[in-house]
Amino acid sequence: MNAKRKTLLHTIAPIATFLLVFIIWEVIVVSLQIPKWLLPAPTRIFQSMIVNFGDFWPHIWMSFITILLGFLAAIPLAISFSALVTNFVLLSAALTPYVLLLVTTPIITLVPLLMLWMGFGINTRILTVLIQAFAIINLNSCTGFLNVPTLRHELMDTFGASRVQRFFHITLPTALPDVFTGLRLATIFSTTTCISAEYVGGNMGLGSQIIMYSQFLKTTESFACIFYVAIIGLFFYQLVGVAQNLIIRWKI
């Protein structure tokens, strides 16, 4: 199969699936006359996404900026932290158990406490996203930094490379695919964490709106917000993919 046809296939196939799912959904809702507070038809949801956009927009923006800032701040922190931990045995021994604890503890359990200390503002939610993204990126970066083949280290031995040279010439490039896996996962976790934090408290962000609309049985608007969350999540995930393709140009 030539490349052009392959690209075409990979564009058309997902769109076809999308249409199929929503057509079936639409047909079921209409034919069974399911009430809209229970399950609205997709056309109604799409309509609401456009018609009520003015109401949704501040919340879309709030969730977007929370995820963006938390995620972006986590990247340099997590990568430099994991670089230090994997390079110094003492640091690794002292900190690894706690880093693991950070990954395994659901961050959402910290949100009520963070809100108690820091209030219901955006700062609390950004910090929550940051902690979650940090844990995921750090875990994957550590894996990458520790998996450098011995042969590459020996190559550096033959040149008398310093610790810093070693890191930038072999460790970081070797680990980049793992680092990017961490970044991809972190976008998913960041989105989830942001929405969860908005569920817990405050009245801004898509999470708070989903809760509010659900309480008033405004299921259509609730769904519209959920679709916007999905779009935001997808956007960040793809963004990392684009960055990865720009940076990692070699084949392994």
Binding site: L155, T158, F159, Q165, H169, P173, K251
Partner: protein, 264 residues
């Protein structure tokens, strides 16, 4: 004359979980400037360990290793000494994210030797192994023989006096291997470098070197040193020469004898 490289009763012991493994026992060797010396032996005889100790990748457990009269006492070699040495690995060991040219330049960057003169040598070396057309290709895009050539010239880019070669062409097909051996002999003739070449191939050892150190396993040790008194320049035609065959027989016999004694 002071030997360029000297091993005095060097022993290397590896500590595994519950046992100690003597990889090299009581190994002595002297290599003089401009010599081409081969170490031959079955796998596991410690021949690779010998040159890895020499380059400071792993320290010796006992004994002394001297490079131009300096004993590093098991410590890492200083950068000035490393600049004198080029190490060629069993695998090409190229970095996949660097192009052929960038791979060759890597030692210059790390050892802070990026002079215009050395930059010129990068291109000379790439031309020498007929890889100009592939200079900006990535390692995955070129053949196995080509990547090994890049591995060889990378070790030569800083113009070291000593080349340490750890079975460099072992993974290649015999045609490519013979071709690279001839190229290597030509490089040696032209540059007069001191070369220590590790192999398990007896013919390769006879063809290339002036002296062959024969090693045996369990524990890794030196069994004999054979001087190869064949005329130079050497060529592949010599393989059918009676004296060449006599040398390969002698070496095969030495290695074979060892294996038999192990079984008994």
């Amino acid at each position: 004359m002071q030997p360029r490289i000297a091993f005095h009763n060097v022993t290397k012991i590896f500590y595994a979980r519950r046992q100690t493994i003597t990889a090299v026992k009581d190994f002595s060797m002297e290599v003089f400037p401009g010599e081409f010396v081969t170490i031959v032996g079955p796998s596991g005889c410690g021949k690779s360990t010998v040159i890895r100790m020499l380059d400071g990748i792993t320290p010796p457990s006992e004994g002394r290793i001297l490079i131009d009269g300096t004993d590093f006492g098991g410590k890492k070699l200083d950068v000035e000494t490393l600049k004198k040495i080029g190490f060629i690995f069993q695998e090409p060991n190229l970095l996949p994210w660097l192009t052929v040219e960038q791979n060759v330049q890597l030692p210059l960057k790390i050892m802070h030797m990026n002079t215009p003169e050395n930059q010129k040598r990068v291109h000379q070396l790439i031309d020498m192994v007929n890889m100009r057309a592939y200079a900006s290709a990535y390692p995955v895009e070129v053949s196995g023989g080509m990547t090994q050539r890049v591995g060889v010239i990378r070790a030569m880019v800083h113009d070291p006096e000593i080349l340490l070669m750890d079975e460099p062409f072992g993974a290649l097909d015999s045609i490519t291997r013979e071709q690279l051996n001839m190229e290597l002999l030509q490089i040696w003739r032209e540059t007069n470098k001191t070369i220590i070449f590790i192999t398990h191939n007896v013919e390769e050892a006879v063809l290339l070197s002036s002296r062959v150190y024969v090693m045996a396993t369990d524990p890794g040790r030196l069994v004999d040193v054979v001087n190869i008194d064949l005329p130079r320049p050497r060529s592949l035609d010599m393989i059918t020469d009676d004296r060449f065959i006599a040398y390969t027989n002698q070496l095969t016999h030495l290695i074979g004898e060892i294996d038999l004694s192990k079984i008994v």
